[in-house]
């Protein structure tokens, strides 16, 4: 994106209230089962990273 092109406020990565509405809209576009899968993948990746760092 050209540096002089402004990002619309709604698309900003740093919303004023700290809540990223783009993430909310993305999750709402998924089914409940897909949302659960997304959370599970997040938890699994954190636990795997923790286990890997413990072995170092």
């Amino acid at each position: 994106m050209p540096p002089d092109e402004e990002i619309p406020a709604e698309q900003s990565a740093a919303p004023e209230d700290g809540v990223d509405v783009t993430l909310i809209r993305w999750l709402l576009s998924l089914t409940p089962a897909e949302r659960l899968d997304t959370l599970q993948q997040f938890v699994d990746s954190v636990l795997e990273a923790r286990a890997a760092s413990a072995q170092v």
């Binding site: 209230d17 949302r35 659960l36 599970q40």
Partner: protein, 165 residues
């Protein structure tokens, strides 16, 4: 007592359902199921403290090999007296952490919360009762703990987005 080998929310839910346990998913998993971008490492459920349900829950916990994770050295298993209380039982299972809550917010128990639930398909043919986003917000406001208040803006924005769409 060994640590849980992995986390599997759906597997815990399936065991509870297979044993006919009456429960409501609350907390972070309930929030995510309704589109809120929060994280959760444990599964929070409010269970019916009806005597027959506690018997079913104990059978499910036996299959899950649940133990109180606050005292790992003792390997203490949950019993009926624990599950009959309105308090919070912090358990570890072989599918990850499971928190059983007798009541939440201003002493709201399973019966109180039933009217504020929705049935949600969570994959694999599994349908579970989940506390609504509106009720989750109310309960977190009532609880007033720092970690609950921290997620309130996210839940409120998610609810607003759901109402817009």
């Amino acid at each position: 007592m060994p640590l849980a080998p992995k986390s599997d929310f759906r597997a815990v839910l399936r065991v509870l359902k297979d044993h006919g346990v009456d429960f409501i998913v609350v907390g972070g998993v309930a929030a995510v199921l309704q589109g809120a971008p929060v994280s959760a490492f444990d599964l929070d459920v409010v269970h019916s403290r009806d005597e027959a349900n506690i018997a079913r829950l104990l059978a499910a916990l036996e299959e899950l090999e649940a133990w109180h994770r606050s005292h790992p050295e003792r390997g203490l298993r949950p019993d009926a007296s624990h599950l009959s209380s309105p308090g919070r039982q912090l358990l570890m299972t072989h599918y990850g952490p499971l928190d059983l809550l007798g009541a939440i917010g201003r002493s709201r128990d399973y019966q109180d919360l039933l009217a504020h639930c929705t049935e949600m398909p969570v994959g694999g043919g599994l349908v579970v009762r989940v506390l609504s986003l509106e009720a989750l917000i109310t309960v977190k406001q009532e609880t007033g703990a720092d970690k609950d208040l921290a997620t309130l803006p996210i839940l409120q924005r998610t609810l607003a987005e759901k109402r817009r769409s």
